[in-house]
């Protein structure tokens, strides 16, 4: 038996981008392969070995009944189970279905929905089994992945900074897109990891690394509203790549309920003032 720790990579509902990050380690890939024994990595090798595994990297979200069985088995087989990417840590972009009627979704995509077996929801791996460490990002960051694997190899718990994107953004010297351009940005509530890519490209962060450690979402929503962003659009901003993370989900739902209530009030207000002339529909937008 080899003494090198074994690595296994598994995929659930996802785009493959996070496991690709592993293959994109380039200079470090072969070095990594010499320190770890790759026992299960369908995308990289046809040699498939049974568990137990020392380190399992799991990509993708749980979205079929079969997924639940598989992830439980993987958990049983693995010493450290590390989830990688927004799909695995928050349900991914596909978690948008969690707000929709999935029957309708099926019809929208597939001509013959009856063939498709699917859960109504897309959920994080940690909603189903115990996860030892979650690495965020859509996709995950190469350096952070190396850091996590390096820590595990050294027998340490990975430690990844969990501050807001803003800190990295300002270290880089990027001009704040929110203050200087009025561009909505989720950077102040988003977990670091990307080295503040989007603002460096003159656009707002759309939260692909998910919520930071203690995001003050209500305050950011208030500010976005003050800057003229309609509440419904703010809801959509939170319902993006990490829509189903508890924090973004909570704030999106809160705002939605609030704007539902105000629409309601508007409508009844309108009924009351049905005689009034010249009222523009603008306010509803």
């Amino acid at each position: 038996m080899e003494s090198r720790p074994t690595l296994a990579v598994f995929k659930f509902a996802s785009c493959d981008g996070c496991q690709l990050t592993l293959l994109s380690l380039e200079d470090d890939l072969l070095a990594l392969a010499s320190r770890l024994h790759v026992a299960h990595f369908l995308e990289a090798t046809s040699r498939i070995e049974p568990g137990p595994y020392d380190i399992a990297l799991v990509e993708g979200s749980v979205s079929t009944p079969r997924d639940i069985e598989r992830i439980r088995q993987i958990r049983r087989d693995s010493r450290y189970l590390i989830t990688i990417g927004a799909c695995a840590t928050a349900g991914g972009i596909q978690a948008l279905r969690n707000w929709a009627d999935s029957e309708e979704y099926l019809r929208a995509v597939y001509a013959r929905p009856e063939y498709i077996e699917t859960l109504a929801t897309s959920t994080a791996i940690a909603d189903h089994v115990t996860v030892d460490f979650e690495l965020r990002g859509c996709p995950i960051d190469k350096r952070q992945l190396l850091d996590v694997i390096g820590s595990l190899l050294a027998g340490r718990r990975p430690r990844i900074p969990n501050h807001e994107v803003c800190l990295d953004c300002k270290r880089k010297g990027t001009v704040c897109v929110m203050v200087a351009h009025g561009t909505p940005c989720l950077g102040p509530v988003t977990h670091s990891g990307c080295d503040a890519l989007c603002p460096a490209h003159d656009r707002g962060c759309y939260g692909c690394f998910g919520p930071s450690r203690q995001p003050n979402l209500v305050s950011l929503s208030d500010q976005l509203r003050r800057d003229g962003m309609p509440p419904r659009e703010i809801v959509q901003a939170f319902r993006g790549i990490n829509a189903y993370s508890p924090e973004f989900r909570g704030e999106g739902d809160r705002l939605e309920a609030e704007s539902d209530r105000s629409d309601e009030a508007d409508r009844s207000g309108e009924a009351d003032r049905s005689g009034e002339a010249g009222r523009s529909g603008e306010a509803d937008r």
Binding site: D28, A31, L32, R35, L146, I149, G150, A154, P161, N162, H163, E164, C166, L167, K170, R171, K172, G173, T174, V175, C176, V177, M178, V179, A180, H181, G182, C185, G187, P188, V189, D202, R213, Q214, P215, N216, V218, S219, L220, D222, Q223
Partner: protein, 370 residues
């Protein structure tokens, strides 16, 4: 003329390029204001036309916009998102290295060949900020070697403000708008040129090399007039009366809870502040772990990790972090460095994404003693 410290000379408008060229010739990296991504930032300047000619900024809490001026001023604005701290105390620097050899670890410092900067366009509040950082980072016993060496080499060409932003409050902090000390040269921009004050022997030597004539009385008077405009435009006030005790006696004031509801703990205020100096060291190693760099990065009292201890955070909520920032900046800085940590530049007000204004916070605490 023979320029000495305190003499005032004249630099015609387009002669500014000669100054820039001379500085580059003398192996300085000239850093000055430039427009990038919708703001005036500090970056390398090789030509006078790269300066924000004919631009100014409008600033208010959480809002910054570039706007056109109706003249061709190059320094007709105040302060943007960058400060010189970026160059003197770089956001990321290697402070040490470790290499594993047959005898175990070899540790070395990572001495940098400190760049010689010439800063063009340093404002009065920024001169004050640099003086504050001198106190925070250079001490008799231990100093930040990177800051100290960069600082020693840096040449400072200050520029007097001729206008003020709505966020400026240097007059409350006694730091401006007039540049009084801490510069090698100080310019005041007029339509046809600059009056140049000499602040050091190094500055004198440079104006001598440029063979600048002395400024005539008319130009000096016009320069006085321009500078007075800046003073007149300053509206914001911070009442600093006994401010140290005011804050330290109100550590449990309800206002901290209120501000915590708005504060995102996003670190922006500390990043743009020209005096904030918190930093952390990160170990960056190759996968083998045989070669390690110790990288010091800007950190912030708003990041949770900074107060991590024994598995939890000492300042675990936003309230305590905001309180830490404000009390450090405006109160305990006096205990530590015998100066205020705030120079009144207003950056933290403009660049706070939710527009928290420290002067309002202090005023609120002052108004309602608990």
């Amino acid at each position: 003329m023979d320029a000495t410290v305190a003499s005032t000379l004249w630099l015609a408008r387009d002669e500014l390029q000669r100054l820039i060229d001379l500085l580059w010739d003398r192996q300085y990296r000239v850093i000055g204001p430039r427009i990038d991504s919708g703001a005036i930032v500090y970056d390398e300047v090789r030509h006078q036309d790269e300066l924000p000619v004919g631009w100014t900024e409008q600033q208010e809490a959480a809002k910054y916009r570039l706007v056109r001026r109706d003249d061709g001023q190059r320094f007709g604005f105040n302060v943007g998102p960058h400060s010189w701290k970026r160059y003197l105390f770089p956001p990321r620097a290697v402070v040490g290295e470790a290499t594993r050899g047959p005898q175990g670890w070899q540790l070395s410092d990572h001495p940098e060949e400190a760049p010689a900067y010439a800063f063009l366009g340093v404002r009065a509040c920024e001169l004050a900020a640099i003086a504050v950082q001198d106190r925070t980072l250079i001490h008799d016993q231990y100093s930040d070697p990177i800051y100290a060496e960069r600082r020693r080499r840096a040449l400072i060409v200050a520029v007097n403000c001729t206008q003020a932003a709505s966020t400026c409050f240097c007059t409350s902090m006694n730091t401006g708008p007039r540049c009084t000390a801490g510069f090698d040269l100080a310019l005041t921009e007029l339509d046809d040129g600059y009056t140049v004050e000499v602040g050091s022997d190094r500055g004198a030597e440079i104006v001598a090399a440029l063979a600048l004539p002395s400024a005539d009385a008319g130009s000096r008077r016009r320069a006085d007039g321009r500078r007075a405009e800046a003073v007149n435009q300053i509206r914001k006030r911070l009442d600093t009366t006994d401010i140290r005790n005011l804050l330290m006696d109100n550590l449990e004031h309800p206002r901290w809870d209120e501000v915590a509801e708005r504060c995102l703990s996003c670190t922006n205020c500390t990043m743009v502040c020209p005096t904030c100096f918190c930093s952390s060291v990160e170990e960056v190693s190759d996968l083998q772990g045989d070669h390690v760099q110790r990288v010091r990065q800007w950190d912030s009292c708003f990041s949770g990790e900074i107060s991590y201890m024994n598995g939890s955070l000492v300042r675990g909520d936003i309230r305590s972090r905001y309180r830490q920032w404000l009390t450090h900046k405006l109160a305990t800085w006096f205990d530590q460095f015998d100066t205020s940590g705030c120079v009144g530049c207003g950056r933290c007000i403009t660049w706070c994404p939710v527009g928290i204004d420290l002067t309002e916070e202090v005023a609120a605490i002052r108004e309602t003693p608990p």
